[in-house]
Amino acid sequence: VSDEGLRFFGEMSASVSHEIRNKLAVINEKVGLVQDIALAMKSGRSVDPDRLEVQAGKIIDQIRQANQIVGSLSRLGHSVDATRARIDTKELVGLVADLYQRKATRAGIRIDTTELADGASVTTHPFLLEGLLGACIDAALPRVGASRILTVASDNSADGAVIRFRHLEGLQESDVRLGGETSGARAMLTVIGGRILADRQLGEIVFEVRDCDRTDSGSLQ
């Protein structure tokens, strides 16, 4: 479990650091352009003041985007603070989808999230749930159909929550083996008491998460 958790956290950290570096590269160029404009003004060249205003607005926008990315990584980092918490499923799915968006974009795919039941929530291990959502997205990405959109839908179930990864084509049972019976992802699934299935007819990976408040023992395995 810890190996798989570290692998997931490492992959997310690398992806986020790349995103931040890209934002810094843009800010670096925009500040450079503002310096160029200032130099031109100092040397007496006529410069449209709107150019400065436009660039300042774009710098603020890049900083806002970078801040959002850092916020996602911070939320992921803090998800190891508790081994059990009440989780807003839609919010957590949104966080993991944000973190995976860059990887999806590189494959020409957009990840959309949707909520099938208002206020769907589940009590479980937050970090393990995030890691398993990531493993499901990894399994789903190669099967995304012609629309190039992966829809992740969160819903309530009798035992807890269910998350569906939709619009998949050519789905196989082997896609949801998560590296086999002895893999870290399988061990994570066992700990939270979940199931991951391939619904080949609907073209969906279905991730069922058991709510540990509703189990007999009331605790994670």
Binding site: H18, R21, N22, L24, A25, V26, I27, N28, E29, K30, G32, L33, D36, A40, Q55, K58, Q62, T105, R106, A107, G108
Partner: protein, 142 residues
């Protein structure tokens, strides 16, 4: 004559701002947001230098570099990366890249690389022209 440069990066704001700064310095700059589109532009226009981002969706920087070198061996390529590794740098140079620069890019270093790239391209073009003239002289009886 100014350097004719093609800037390729999937981050539109980055590529457009860098292009604006380079144009202010007298360069003739075109932009592209994908490796595929860049290859079409290379087929249609005669660039001195292509500045390529290493990580892009679809055709990445290394693949674009290989394809550009296969189509137009005289065009010089400078690679940019947010994640510089020695392995990637060595691979890029082996595939024919002239320089491998890290983001955020220092414009002075990039400008130097572009001047160097253009000079290299001119030497290659001159050699090619010389060989063609020698070939014509050798094969024609006059």
């Amino acid at each position: 004559m100014s350097e004719k440069v093609l800037l390729v990066d999937d981050e539109e704001e980055f590529v457009e701002t860098l292009a604006e700064r380079m144009r202010d310095r007298g360069m003739d700059v075109s932009t592209s947001n994908s490796g595929t589109n860049a290859l079409h532009l290379v087929d249609d226009e005669d660039f001195d230098v292509v500045v390529l981002d290493l990580k892009m969706p679809g055709i990445d920087g290394l693949e674009a570099l290989r394809k550009i070198k296969r189509r137009r061996p005289d065009i010089q390529v400078v690679l940019l990366t947010g994640h510089a590794t020695v392995e990637k740098g060595v691979e890029a140079i082996k595939e024919g890249a002239l320089e491998f620069l890290e983001k955020p890019v220092d414009l002075a270093s990039l400008t130097d690389a572009i001047h160097k790239a253009r000079a290299t391209k001119m030497v290659l073009v001159e050699k090619d022209t010389e060989e063609r003239i020698r070939d014509i002289l050798h094969h024609k009886s006059w």
